[in-house]
Amino acid sequence: MTYQADEKGYYGDFGRAFIPEMLYPNVEKLRSKYLEIMKEASFRKEFDQLLKDYVGRPTPLYLAERLSEKYKTKIYLKREDLCHTGAHKINNTIGQILVAKRLGKNRVIAETGAGQHGVATATVCALMGIECVVYMGEVDIARQAPNVARMKLLGATVIPAKSGSKTLKDATNEAIRDWINNPVNTHYIIGSVVGPHPYPDMVARFQSVISEEVKTQLKEKEGRENPDYVVACVGGGSNAAGIYFHYLDNPEVGIIAVEAAGKGIFTGESAATSALGKEGIIHGSKTLLMQTADGQITEPYSISAGLDYPGIGPMHANLFRTGRAEFISVTDDAAMKAGQELARLEGIIPAIESAHALAIFKDRKFKEDEVVVVNLSGRGDKDLSTYIDYFNL
């Protein structure tokens, strides 16, 4: 029994590629090549080098002493917020831009919610001299303005998605339509462990550097590779997949997934997919998603643009269904307070996405000698205006 994808792209009952024929040639080419490309020595060398010299890896594993003292357990933070561009997203975009080059593509498209994936994509495109187009919901363009400016400064074209809820789901639809319209020269860099196979598996593998590092770092600090728990927020689930990856099939390590409850799970303004979702198809993948009884995808809500998505990746749907992971949902208010608390106790301002993961300690108690590693997936610079409004700063 494994919690990794099988060769068809199934995680248990979830995953696979439910795509229109128009996407088949590109997705199939990627599927048949990605593992081979990722194994090439020249690829590994370039990828590792860029992660080290450009992204700034390994990122620290930091023992948050004051936070630990407050919640009476041992809390480590995996500092993905210190990556170049401010979040874990760049681990994946570095990997995918190298794949795109090897597939001979000269144009890249991406969707973005919080703008972190858009910035990370615009960054690697600038680095490689490749044309970059980013789709972003109109609502997100307004609430993540600094990231829109960063993408433009990096030379990317940002196209507003104006359909539906005008957030991440709709930006993803637009990116997929662009790919249908540009099937020859374009690679689509999906930003999370969502979409048709092989994306969930490929993105998880690129993000797996996070747990690979945790293993060595924890060994140094605690004398053991395995923490008692790994904790991450789940939008689509890429930072979570990264910190779970090397522990997925190790029952000694508890897995905790944190979703955005928005204004409360049953308020109608929520993005807590595991609680509200049912099995179905979104963006080419069979997974859990929020939908009406009639199979129409519903519009999610979260204060955090990166978690404002009505589905979760198929890996996480399977972790939920099998009970391998514990799912917790956190409201806007709880996340905002946890963000402020981290700032005041540790001098670190987290992204609001990551603040959701930190918010579990108020209610979920751990033993004093347990080691809990939280993925601090990004920094809060992009969220300053939301923090300002929320706390009247």
């Binding site: 696979r16 590629a17 439910f18 795509i19 229109p20 024929e21 128009m22 088949y24 040639p25 359909s163 539906g164 789901k169 639809n173 997929i176 339509r177 249908i180 319209n181 540009n182 099937p183 020859v184 049912k278 099995e279 179905g280 198809i281 979104i282 963006h283 080419g284 939908q291 009884a293 009639d294 199979g295 129409q296 995808i297 519903t298």
Partner: protein, 262 residues
């Protein structure tokens, strides 16, 4: 016999050899929730050969703005899968041309694939076009159910589909192959360039077992004629939706006559 097969066989008879099939797509429940029945009747009355009834979906990935908007509007005014079957309940009392439902897979999955197929059979639906149910998953998991209810599942090919895959799709198809005219979502192209014509020609000389019907980007008499020079027929979608937006259910006769004057 399935009406799609029957229609295709009729056109193979020598006296009909030159006749090209005109198929029309529209979104069920658009422009008004209860227009579905009227639109189908009007289309048949004006000589349309086949109809694709669009099951509206919140996230139609392969569709351009025209069909997206019609779906959004239909859903806003309360269209559901069950409602569509209610609207079509008595359709076979007055309409005899082949009817297909074109929709994305998620609403069908939620309805229950078998239940959906059963309802289609009861209603007199002849075939389905489900763009995001790929042929491999269909043959593995759902083919037996579709066949039990005598439903033809129509697959798409595009200019990028490899020859090998076209042969494979041809081998598992029954009825016709839906040939997407160019690399695009619905409703985007205007007229066909040399590259597109070369693709039409390339497919027409492959001698496939199934006839091809071309769709996407066919909007008027000229593009209909260009497409059907190489194929058995053509499908018009977005252009008809635009007509409905402007005229509601009026002037359908003028629209159809403007495409093909038989």
């Amino acid at each position: 016999m399935n009406r799609i097969i029957q229609k295709l066989q009729e056109t193979d008879l020598s006296e009909n050899k030159e006749k090209k099939l005109l198929s029309i797509y529209f979104t069920a429940g658009y422009p008004k929730p209860d227009d579905t029945f009227t639109i189908i009747q009007e289309l048949e009355k004006n000589g349309v050969d086949m109809i694709e009834i669009g099951l509206p979906f919140s996230d139609p990935l392969a569709d351009g703005p025209t069909i997206q908007e019609s779906s959004t509007k239909a859903l806003k005014s309360g269209m559901t899968t069950l409602k569509l079957f209610e609207q079509l309940k008595d359709i076979r009392k007055s309409v005899s041309i082949p009817l297909l439902i074109m929709g994305y897979f998620n609403p069908i999955l939620q309805f229950g694939v078998e239940e959906f197929c059963k309802k289609c059979a009861e209603t007199g639906i002849d075939g389905l076009i489900i763009p995001d149910l790929p042929v491999d998953i269909y043959t593995e998991k759902y083919k037996a159910i579709f066949e039990k209810y005598d439903l033809i599942n129509v697959f798409l090919i595009t200019p990028q589909t490899s020859e090998e895959r076209i042969r494979f799709i041809d081998s598992v198809s029954n009825g016709f192959i839906y040939m997407v005219s160019s690399a695009s979502v619905t409703g985007t192209t205007k007229g066909f360039g040399d590259e597109t014509k070369a693709y039409f020609e390339r497919i027409s000389v492959m001698n496939l077992k199934n006839p091809q019907i071309i769709g996407f980007g066919i909007s008027d008499k000229e593009s209909f004629e260009q497409a059907t020079e190489f194929a058995k027929g053509a499908i018009i979608g977005s252009a008809f939706i635009k007509h409905l937006t402007e005229n509601e259910t009026g002037k359908i006769s003028a629209f159809v006559k403007g495409i093909r004057d038989i």
